[in-house]
């Protein structure tokens, strides 16, 4: 399955603890999606 399809249904929290559906990140424009190892 394409990565975009697998990721699109996942919902994560932003820094204000608001839910963000990953699919919405590239709904309108391309996105550079960086996964970092950890914060710190």
């Amino acid at each position: 399955m394409r990565i975009a399809t697998r990721l699109s249904g996942i919902t994560l929290s932003d820094t204000q603890d608001r839910p963000v559906r990953l699919g919405s990140l590239w709904a309108e424009r391309p996105v550079v999606l960086a996964f970092v190892r950890h914060f710190g």
């Binding site: 399955m1 990565i3 994560l12 932003d14 820094t15 391309p30 970092v36 190892r37 710190g40």
Partner: protein
């Protein structure tokens, strides 16, 4: 140090990225408050999300593990990051999880992929920017290929793991078996193929429909409730960007309903039929046709559906029928004396296992029936997956085994492989677990005689005759 280094690199070039009409989103795995502090400190104003459960890391196929995080090149990378002034602070999150960078375009195409092999292994921002140009080609997306060594280890370990059912059917079992998967198998384009999946609005059926739509197939989701089906279809259309997802109503517990649905479906082509709908009732329920409910939904209904769609399937150049059975069938022989539970005290789990055994036998019989017409028929065991069905029907089992249950997508993997891959039509009349044909009996007393097999066929034919 590495993570701030990477985010700092993106921050420094964020205007270049935005000039190309794109946005930056960073996903980390600490708690939200640490993410906020991290963003402030680095003056990063792109989207910052947090995934403490690493769900998205797994979905993106990122690596983790001590060996991966501590590679021989690590000290060199650390020295470089320190020279650049990115000193490691206290770590928030999983220290062994590695990262990666992707560029995804609005239709879901991937134009850049970097999966870190070790801490500090970041892509060059210039390469990321190049992937943002209009002319950047979409990358082919197979699964991550297992290394030669990993495949060898997987082969050796599964020899020992397979007889121990718990290990084999659980999530670790899938992870072990998947080391042997050929990533090219699902590198297929299903454009023009029409796939019918029963019970498609949740669990394994949903994951199957999603994966087939993702591979370009036309998908018909056969559901008992049009409303729930349409909701699920909308999610699949949104996630895959494919408009070719339909819903049709069928209740496999009713011959009338199966006939109505089949009459509707017979107008268009059928290349793949997945018998996935299933249930495990608490007590004996009798259908309007006078059958016990699990027998109706797992055996009689699918038998009739296959009968009615057989002419359509036979017209396809590459037709496949997949019966989603269960490893629970290993405990039972084919029940012919009282399959409707009229004279026995009802036991839902036993009824489930008996009908799952019947499905395996029936799949073989249909493989014989349709073999000459080029239709491949197999049955399979998805393993123990964490689906809504398992959670509501056997809550005790679900609670106990939850940590080792497979995800619905892992459970659906072999269904999709049997329906979509070229390798999936090499065998017919076989029973699969994790993309490999397995034995159909572990216990000698569960073997059925040829006469028993014929008796099942005649019973199904008689019950479903008009």
């Amino acid at each position: 140090m590495f993570c701030r280094e990477q985010v700092a690199q993106l921050r420094d070039r964020i205007e270049d990225i935005r000039d190309r009409g794109a946005e930056v989103a960073v996903i980390g795995n600490g708690a939200p408050q640490f993410a906020a502090a991290f963003a402030d400190e680095l003056e990063f104003d792109g989207r910052l999300l947090t995934d403490p459960d690493l769900v998205s890391y797994r979905a993106a196929g990122l690596r983790r593990g001590r060996a991966a995080a501590l590679s021989p090149r690590l000290p060199l990378n650390a020295a470089r990051a320190l020279l650049d002034g990115h000193r490691q602070k206290a770590i928030q999150g999983d220290p062994w999880q590695l990262g990666g960078v992707f560029v995804i375009r609005p239709e879901g195409q991937l134009t850049f992929r970097h999966v870190s092999r070790e801490a500090g292994d970041h892509p060059r921002v210039d390469d990321v920017l190049a992937a943002l140009s209009e002319s950047a080609p979409a990358l082919a997306e197979g699964e991550a290929a297992p290394g030669f060594l990993a495949a060898g280890i997987g082969r050796t370990l599964s020899l020992f793991a397979d007889p121990t059912i718990v290990l084999s059917f659980s999530r670790p079992g899938f992870q072990l078996h998947s080391l042997r998967f050929d990533p090219r198998d699902l590198d297929v384009d299903l454009a023009g193929r029409r796939c019918l999946v029963t019970g498609a609005n949740s669990g394994l059926g949903f994951e199957t429909a999603l994966a087939l739509a993702d591979l370009g197939a036309e998908v018909v989701m056969l559901c008992r409730s049009l409303e729930r089906g349409e909701e699920a279809a909308e999610e699949i259309r949104r996630r895959t960007g494919s408009p070719r997802v339909e819903v049709a109503k069928v209740d496999l517990a009713s011959f009338d309903s199966v006939r109505r649905a089949a009459a509707e479906l017979a107008d268009s082509r059928a290349d793949v039929l997945v018998h996935n709908a299933g249930l495990l009732p608490a007590g004996r329920v009798e259908t309007p046709d006078g059958l016990e409910l699990t027998f109706a939904v797992h055996v009689a209904g699918p038998h009739l559906m296959t009968r009615l769609l057989a002419p359509r399937l036979a017209r396809s150049a590459d037709a496949r029928v997949v019966w989603v059975s269960s490893g629970g069938m290993y405990a039972k022989s084919l029940e012919l004396e009282d399959p409707q539970w009229r004279d026995r005290e009802y036991d839902g789990v036993a009824a489930y296992a008996e009908t799952k055994r019947a499905q395996v036998v029936l799949a073989d019989l249909w493989a014989e029936e349709l073999g000459e017409r080029g239709v491949v028929v197999n049955s399979m065991h998805p393993g123990w997956a964490d689906t809504p069905g398992v959670e509501t029907s056997i809550p005790g089992f679900h609670k106990l085994t939850r940590p080792i249950l497979r995800t619905p997508a892992e459970g659906a993997d072999t269904i999709v492989w049997l329906a979509a891959s070229r390798a999936g039509r090499r065998r017919t009349a076989s029973f699969f677990l994790d993309r490999e044909a397995r034995c159909k009996h572990y216990l000698p007393f569960t073997r059925e005689r040829e006469a028993d097999r014929r008796a099942l066929w005649q019973m199904c034919e008689r019950l479903t005759a008009e």
